[in-house]
Symmetry: C2
Subunit: 523 residues, 2 copies
């Protein structure tokens, strides 16, 4: 009598219960759930006729558009595996990932057709290239193929441990790895997200988070499960966000902290009448307390932080509110909300372990590595048994994130282990230091990395973007840090920059900053 745990069940339910509700808004296009899922069915039919079957991979390279969203339904419901690539990567990256997962079909948005077209000669295993928008020589046209086809395809029986998607890691330190997310993994994350960030009737979700990023943290399915509306946004800039939030009566969105900073610092004119009360799920990188306070204070939006990794479908911690939070000041609350928090009820078991695999004390200072086992942990890395065995050693997934546990049990990330700065034998958390810098009124963004130092091993170097029409000197910022931190944590250098290098998902690329520093160092 059991039914497999799969996000496809949310689509089945939505089709039954919400056929006339608005499912998707994409520019001028508006689709009800009946229309949207009908389109998915016709594309499933077309893919079947193109020979795509159970276990085949379908790559998609597209920004947040209805055509992108449709792949998350049309591909898995024929038993195939959806592989959404980060569209901001280079042609060489695309080539590596496409060769690695060997898809039957590659679907591409107009903006990336030229890049992929340049690779076609080398991608001999791919049977069909599909232009989701735009066109290319010998490419199938998505809309006309879909329109011509019938929804005649067979729905294979899904086992909940079957692979639903392959999501490539960002690959900042090594080749991207293909994370295999199962139907059960994604179902869990969807339901856990709904428990910890509930959605009521008529929610309207703005797609500021890229859908390729851990399947848009599973909101590609979560919004559908709740019968909400997907409001697509292909290119995030503050003015576009303001305009859509108001015009489409947006109630929820998700975004990395850097994206939130950009939204909070957009044109004053658009901000003045901006709809308040929008609920924001943030994640992808730890937000500074100052960022949270700015968004909540200036925009009147409400932030909930989630923490996770592509390998964990992705959410494993949520900064759940506590009864005592009502009594906190704005400062104290923002400091609490900047912590990554506690297990979701769906995420399984989380521990923070020291080098001897013992749990660290809940003292808010002892560093350990976050590990997790449970129903959101990936099946493994695609075609990479060795990396899989390493990541899942001992039956736990090892996140590589260094964290402390506070006395109330809330976990706070201090760094990627590789980003911890070790100075004179002391650990310095770059995230803690960045949090202090961001609390300075003139600082818009900050990134701290370690620089090799003959005597101390490493010393912290800050990279700072100032807010528009603000000013600060290096000495002022060092003084600001000195008043708030132990002496050895004060940056030995503050470098003022106009922007920070970032990944497509808004994470700061510290390895780029470290490379720049070592280049300077070598001069």
């Amino acid at each position: 009598m059991e039914v497999a745990l799969t996000p496809l069940e949310f689509a089945r339910r939505a089709r039954r219960i919400y056929p006339d509700r608005e499912a998707v808004v994409d520019g001028e296009l508006r689709l009800t759930y009946a229309q949207f899922l009908g389109r998915c069915d016709r594309w499933s039919g077309a893919l079947s006729r193109l020979g795509v079957g159970v276990g085949d991979r379908v790559v998609v390279i597209a920004p947040n558009t209805h055509g992108m969203l449709e792949q998350f339904y049309a591909v898995p419901q024929i038993g195939a595996i959806v592989v959404p690539l980060n569209y901001r990567l280079t042609g060489a990256d695309f080539k590596y990932m496409i060769e690695h997962c060997a898809p039957a079909v590659v679907c591409v948005h107009a903006d990336y057709i030229q890049t992929v077209e340049g690779l076609r000669g080398e991608l001999t295993g791919v049977r069909h290239f599909v232009a989701l928008t735009g066109s290319g020589p010998g490419w199938l046209d998505y809309e006309s193929t879909l329109a011509a086809g019938a929804a005649d395809f067979s729905r294979p029986v899904i086992d909940e441990d079957d692979v639903l998607s392959i999501n490539y890691t960002s690959g900042t330190t090594s080749r991207p790895k293909g994370v295999m997310i199962t139907h059960r993994n994604a179902w869990m994350n969807t339901v856990g997200t709904l428990v910890h960030n509930p959605m009521g009737a008529g929610e309207r979700y703005l797609w500021t988070l890229p859908m390729f990023h851990a399947n848009g943290w599973t909101y590609v399915w979560t919004v559908t499960a709740a019968g909400g509306t997907h409001v697509c946004l292909a290119k995030v800039d503050a003015a576009a966000v303001y305009s859509l939030v108001n015009r489409e009566r947006v109630t929820m969105l998700s975004a990395a902290p850097t994206v939130l900073i950009a939204i909070a610092n957009g044109p004053q004119a658009g901000r003045r009448d901006l709809r308040r009360g929008v609920r924001v799920a943030t994640g992808g990188a730890p937000p500074a307390a100052a960022t949270i306070q700015r968004i909540e204070g200036e925009l009147g939006w409400v932030i909930t932080q989630f923490y996770g990794l592509t390998e964990t479908a992705p959410m494993i911690l949520v900064c759940e509110s506590r009864p005592r939070d009502a009594a906190l000041s704005g400062d104290e609350l923002a400091t609490h909300k900047a912590r990554q928090g506690v297990e979701l009820i769906t995420s399984g078991q989380i521990r923070v372990l020291d080098e001897g695999d013992r749990e660290v004390p809940a003292d808010g200072s002892t560093l350990g590595e976050i590990v997790v086992r449970g129903n959101v942990v990936m099946k493994g890395y695609y075609n990479d048994p060795q990396a899989t065995a390493t990541a899942l050693r001992g039956g736990w997934f090892h996140t590589g994130d260094a964290a402390v546990v506070h006395p109330d049990g809330y976990v706070e990330i201090r760094d990627r282990f590789k980003d911890v700065i070790i100075s004179g034998g002391e650990n310095i958390s770059s995230i803690e230091l960045e949090g202090v810098l961001l609390a300075h009124p003139s600082v818009l963004e900050a990134a701290v990395v370690g620089m090799a130092h003959a005597k101390w091993g490493e010393t912290p170097v800050a990279h700072v973007v100032l807010r528009a029409e603000s000013a600060a000197t290096e000495e002022q910022l060092r003084q600001h840090c000195r008043e708030r931190l132990a002496g050895f944590k004060v940056p030995t250098q503050v470098r003022f920059v106009t922007e920070l290098p970032k990944t497509a998902t808004g994470k700061i690329q510290k390895y780029v900053l470290r490379k720049q520093l070592s280049a300077i160092h070598r001069q």
Copy 2:
């Protein structure tokens, strides 16, 4: 890497995250989660030493007390099966069920010790009788056994399809059947309940619903999953509810409609200052729109209706709010809220089938039977393969409930199939007729059953309890019905009674009314 879906995971998580939160209030006793789960562990240790092991049954007969609640944790975490009996049944019923499930241990609250003591000579298979409160000759004392013991027991590996509890059906028409609920079933219902009736920080849940009833609709675990407080209440009367709601700052409760009616009609004095905004999950029987309006209007509480059966863990429908509801009048909204609604995202697939196993049209009038398949459907009836095969025939659980589907997809129960009145070939829904009677200002409660009739086959007979200090004549009530219903639905008789026969869970026992009528008929 997967972790079994089991409510025991909620306890593990609560112990880790909420150790200092108030878990249980029971009279003067207050326990934090660390204390409460520590007690459960010591009782698990004691049960182990008493020889209770994997797959053994432990029967419990007790009202809503901390000792009752503890069984839902202490028993399953040693791999045993908890069997909570309806304490309002007779000694003969207890004997039947205890012999049927052959438990190793029977735990009994003081109020029922005498009854069970009277059966002891016949219950030779039971190894230990435990007095949860009170005492009996040769009975183990719960508190001293628990206090003396250590929490030394081994936690077996749980398979999510293992049986967690056996819950006996009410057995109004036949012998009670033992519904086997798996760990996965209960986990699903808990999480589904949290999605559709979210719990935030610091919720305080009043135990008006008996914990034995489908495991208190799984709130025995749901409250713990959310880190809320279980406020125990052994005996429900309106004055006690008013007092606890205010004193304990209750935010949520669950109750059958008849219990809600009793609460809404309690002493005026207590009602005046009653805390408003309490969220109420109702279920167990279809509430009349008039009841919903009375509770929401007079008490300022907010009702969400769920529908389910013991066999489905139990929830399979929820009257989910819709975007359009905001525009409805109070009357219209109450009428909508009186419908059972739509699938939960966890409940699996629901259909309403006609006699040819085809789905009925969504016309709000064609009757069909509700069937369900999915992750909340029981494993089967304990030691009853034949009843199991009948109930689960064709891979679907057959509810025996007759319902219509409205054009918006919302399901509305019209009757148990056996309660449908067939008069001159026309179906009359007793629930529809009761809803009309309840809308009359003088009517407190109503129950309609069919009486044999030479010409029409059956005719509807109404049983009515009037509100205090109200009056109505039979003709007035028939006139009230005549103005609102087709002529053939108007009750041929209205019988005024001072109370209606009810099950322990507040369901009206129509078979008792039918028996009385046929006795009169025979005279």
